[in-house]
Amino acid sequence: MSKTLRTPAGGSVNRVKTIKFSFDGKTYQGLEGDTLASALLANGIRVMGRSFKYHRARGVLGAGSEEPNALVAVRRDKARIAPNLRATQVELYDGLVAESQNRWPSLNFDVGAVLSLLSPFIPAGFYYKTFMWPKSAWDKLYEPNIRAAAGLGHAPTEADPDSYLNRFAHCEVLIIGAGPAGLAAALAASEGGERVILVDEQCELGGSLLSATDAVIDGQSGRAWRDAVVAKLAANPKVTLMTRANAFGYFAHNMIGVAERLSEHQASPAKGAPRERLWQIRAREVVLATGAIERPLVFPDNDRPGIILADSARTYLNRYGVLPGKRVVVATGHDEAYRAALDLHKAGVTIAAIADARPNPKGPLVEAARAAGLPIKTGYAITGTKGTLGVAEARLSPILGAGRVGPPEIVACDSVLMSGGFTPSVHLFSQSRGKVVWDETLETYLPGASAEAERSAGACRGQFGLAKALADGFAAGSDAARLTVKRDFVVQATEGDPKGVVGALPHDRGNGAKAFIDWQNDVTTKDLKLAVREGFQSIEHIKRYTTTGMATDQGKTSNLNALGVISDALDRPIPQIGLTTFRMPYTPVTFGVLAGMARGDLFDPVRTTPIHDWAVEQGAVFEDVSLWKRARFFPQGREDMEAAVRRECLAVRSHCGIFDASTLGKIEVVGPDAAEFMNRFYINAWTKLGVGKCRYGIVCREDGFVTDDGVVGRMSQDRFHVTTTTGGAPRVLAMMEDYLQTEWPDLDVWLTSTTEQFAVIALQGPKARDILSGLVEGIDLSPEALAHMSLVEGKICGVPTRLFRVSFTGELGFEINVPSQHGRKVWEAIWAAGQPHGLVPYGTETMHVLRAEKGFIIVGQETDGTATPDDVGLTWAVGKAKPDYVGKRSLARPAMAAPDRKQLVGLLTKDPHIVLEEGAQVVLTPGQKAPMALVGHVTSSYHSAVLGRSIALAMVSGGRARIGETVYIPMPGSDIAVDVTSPVFYDPEGVRVNG
């Protein structure tokens, strides 16, 4: 069929503005105001997609966001390809390039369609049943091939060049859906002068009024009434109207996620114009006016292109001026299809037959159709269709009862309209955790008790018909705004019976017939019945087994029919089968709109130190440590990391190294009870620590396991300068605050994070004192005045400093704390002063090697949240005389002293060239087969330049008692023999800190 199906007049499309677009490489013309779907239909294009599993040719089924079939990719350039868009929601613009999906090589001739012939062999659960063995083939063979053959569209291969915005909004009343109920709700809610937001997924507000022809509200046509209401709302500064806005998620406490399309629909968006915007709207009250979605009829061959929902056909006619065909069969179980038949009849379409599955339909719509002389067959089911890539005839059979039908009549037609009735859209209500309840009269689920401050209005709660929707919407809007406004709408509209049919129609086509329930996932009545025969009873299981309702449309058109079919198969009423929970998003949203600005540099905050730029200039290689960028090593020339680290290590041991320790967490603990607080919080004793002295502190959790460590200096009687690990600072401060605020409110102590306030320059090596001596003022650096583990306040390079004499390398060392803004200046002064002394900068990798040579632990590397202070050799640090501290009671548990606990030891490979792998396991005897008896693991492993061999730290069961023994590291192909040693490999006497 290639002739045009555009009506000569009518609809709200702009008849004088033609638009060129392409679909699968062919150019077509549409009109301004068209969607891609309406324009394709107008051009006689029926096949718009191929189905997911069987690759069956599919045409458009609906006219809105419920569309399961007509999924297309819209492409602007290589980086701007939006797959899986519903053609019914793609607004036509000049030059639009759209492509169908899931077909090869072309829509009308798809090789994959052979799958349809194989369908008797692809029952429900086919993939589960068939591709189970061998397990290893799943990843490599089955899954990639199944995915290649299936798949819904393809993502662009280039980065998205567009920008996306994110906004928060607050309002008293948020109304979702701008059909008659939503508009009436907005009218009422806006009368109180509070903030009202009205959102709708379409490009125009109005919902069903946009395709109404016969409705009259307050003396105006539906369309004119809609125009007046929208104008009134738009003029109200307290009212925000949003179109092209998909309210996709209902989150806790009335937070609604809305994805707003900003430039997708434009032919040539302004350069840099944002593509979409994410709204996070917090509303005091929400009105859900989300309407209802028409249900397909379930009958054999119901997926043939040209078979569309009756009310959608009405929309195509009345809104877009497009006919579904010239000779139409209407199959229905609901009155609304008569309205579509009447409208089409008026537009000159031949209604070949109306097959109504109900034995005795009545009411004004039915009577009007009779009066118009339309051929109505009551008690008739449609039992099949025929045609190549479209409908050529429909098969209509009288229903005899008990699931039987009589001899069929064949009716020639080029389109079939169908309607099983309307299913209220309870998706957002269900997302809000409201409980849906089964309505016996309407045979559908309706919103029950609310979990949030929301109410539903209109068709989404079963209030069908224009008059009811308006009244219900107005009342809901008034209620949500806490008003008592009243208004009676005078409505002239022909209303039908709201009840329809659920489940499958009877037929005589045998077992081979395909009656589709879920178009998008290719689920048929047979699949559901098979699942029931195989023993599935709960919808939650049947859904996963057959995938019904699990496609990107979440079963918008299929869920209730699936329940009906399962109900029949199980012979159990629908409410006993259960209903699956609706999940966000209501309709799919892009990753772009969710990511928003959080891309590239803004994805995660980056923390840099005051010395960062210097390190960059020196060509440092950086690593990420929590959010920090830390210089890992400073390669010279063509050095690799190994060579650079070796050189840096030797330079520190022989001369001096300078290291940026600014990332260390720092907390100022101040107050009359500071020492008492420290006593209770740390495992160490602090009372006797003199002013100007430092101590290595260890924090345990209440369960007795080490959680952080760091040097603490006593600045004065009531002031401690606490340092933590780089990654642990926020956690330690939060833990301190927790105890201080909630357990020990009796203590007068203040905690302040000072991590960002101080730059910390570590100067480590025998020449450290010589380098510093010329830079400090009022500070005596002599060993007598400033012993190891002490600190002094004074000036360096003219700026105040807290100068610690501490060492994380085993060498003579200082850590110079200066205000951050002076960090780089002081660093450069030290750097310059160090040049005659062979000073080198070193990074975290060298820092790790140097501390490992001394057996100093890194919390989080040697410890894993299950190590006690004793496990890592820190018993000496425990303030044993203290009556209590965090973790003390737990450390007294017998298991904490078990001799087979993993303890920190050193490992030396028999072959000094072998550097063990961190994380490798330790076993006691070689040649074991899996599962081996594991007794520990390697925590740190390096090549030590100063020792000329490899070293490793490990946590080994009963490790300290094993010192001197040989144990093994099992690796693929061999066991590496290692000696268990003390964890201190270098300068065990500890004399080097004295310089």
Binding site: F251, A252, H253, M255, A451, A734, T742, K888, R889
Partner: protein, 96 residues
């Protein structure tokens, strides 16, 4: 995103807060005197109720103070928030 009413600052979005586990579990006065069972009870055992739950929150990116809240774990609705140290409100008809 939850909307949490800090008793010191008022209603604020969840992303300003951190969760602090069950409320009204005071650290024992004298842990050393406790037997293993009691200590285990204090350290590990939590109520995990279906319904009203007294829990701690901290308004980290606000006043930074800890406080307590009664939240219905089935609906996520807060019934009350109150300062640390205050007893759990006795709400008639609200859960257990």
């Amino acid at each position: 995103m939850l909307l949490i009413t800090c008793p010191h600052c008022g209603p604020r979005p969840e992303l300003e807060f951190t969760h602090g586990g069950e409320a009204h579990i005071a650290r024992p006065e004298n842990p050393a005197a406790m037997n293993a069972e009691d200590w285990t009870e204090y350290l590990y055992m939590r109520a995990n109720p279906k319904g009203l739950h007294a829990e701690r929150w901290r308004h980290l990116h606000g006043c930074a103070r800890f406080f307590n809240a009664l939240r219905d774990t089935t609906t996520d609705q807060f019934v009350a928030t109150y300062a640390t140290g205050q007893p759990r409100p006795d709400l008639k008809g609200a859960g257990q």
